[in-house]
């Protein structure tokens, strides 16, 4: 399941819903992305996430279906927020449930790596010297490509 929303989410509640009444699940992994204060060399005070409504959902559904083809998952969830976010706010939740931890860990890692290079979101950071669009970094691209050669 995927969700793109302005509102915050409750991790505990989301994880509980994901595995409720499914007793085949033996492992549940999650990744949560947060707004941090450093955008070297400056510090940031807040950020705004822009996205491409329609394409965002399509891309997230596509990435999620690839993960489900590749790993044997009982359930998966991606929640990504947009709009204005403050320091420490939750940006994204990726969670994967499987019979065993190995598949759950790998699928979760794959999803966040691919999401960072494919899902059409853009971060605008507010710093003391004004607002700046975040530039994509090669390390994210490398992290995503790693999965192609598994």
């Amino acid at each position: 399941m995927i969700r793109v929303q302005r509102e915050d989410f409750d991790i505990g509640l989301e994880l509980a819903k994901l595995t409720k009444n499914n007793h085949k699940v033996g492992g549940l992994t999650s990744f949560v992305g947060l707004v941090r204060d450093i955008a070297a060399p400056e510090t940031i005070s807040s950020m705004t996430l822009e996205h491409y409504p329609g394409m965002t959902e399509k891309q997230l559904e596509h990435i999620e279906s690839i993960a489900n083809q590749r790993w044997n998952l009982e359930a998966s969830l991606i929640i990504h927020r947009y709009g204005k976010l403050d320091l420490g706010d939750q940006i994204v939740l990726v969670a994967c449930a499987s019979a065993h931890r190995g598949e759950a860990f790998e699928a979760c890692h794959f999803l966040i790596d691919w999401l960072k290079t494919k899902a059409p979101f853009w971060k605008l950071e507010e710093t003391a010297s004004g607002s700046k669009w975040v530039e994509a970094i090669d390390a994210d691209k490398d992290a995503a490509h790693r999965w192609s050669y598994k």
Binding site: H51, M55, I91, I112, K116, W122, A136
Partner: protein, 83 residues
């Protein structure tokens, strides 16, 4: 066709979306970009380095040689930075 712009492309052009009627010989993304660049200085500046531009046609990633037709939704944006 409907054109959409995101992030710094949107802010630099000062427009988030527009409808354009292009000549019939404009039949792929590259030709559309050339047409836009010749239209106005602001487009010329924004699209001066195409390595910084990603393109989606009808909400799917495409290359510059992808064919386009009249009813398409074509989006231009920088490499994504979500997550």
């Amino acid at each position: 066709m409907k054109l959409l712009y995101f992030a710094w492309i949107r802010t630099n052009l000062g427009v988030s979306e527009e409808s354009v009627d292009v000549p019939s010989e404009i039949n792929d993304v590259r030709a559309l970009l050339d047409w836009l660049i010749n239209r106005d200085e602001s487009y010329k500046a924004v699209f001066s380095d195409l390595s910084l531009i990603r393109v989606a046609v009808n909400q799917e990633y495409v290359d510059l040689d992808n064919a386009i037709t009249k009813g398409d939704e074509i989006a231009f944006f920088p490499p994504v930075t979500g997550g």
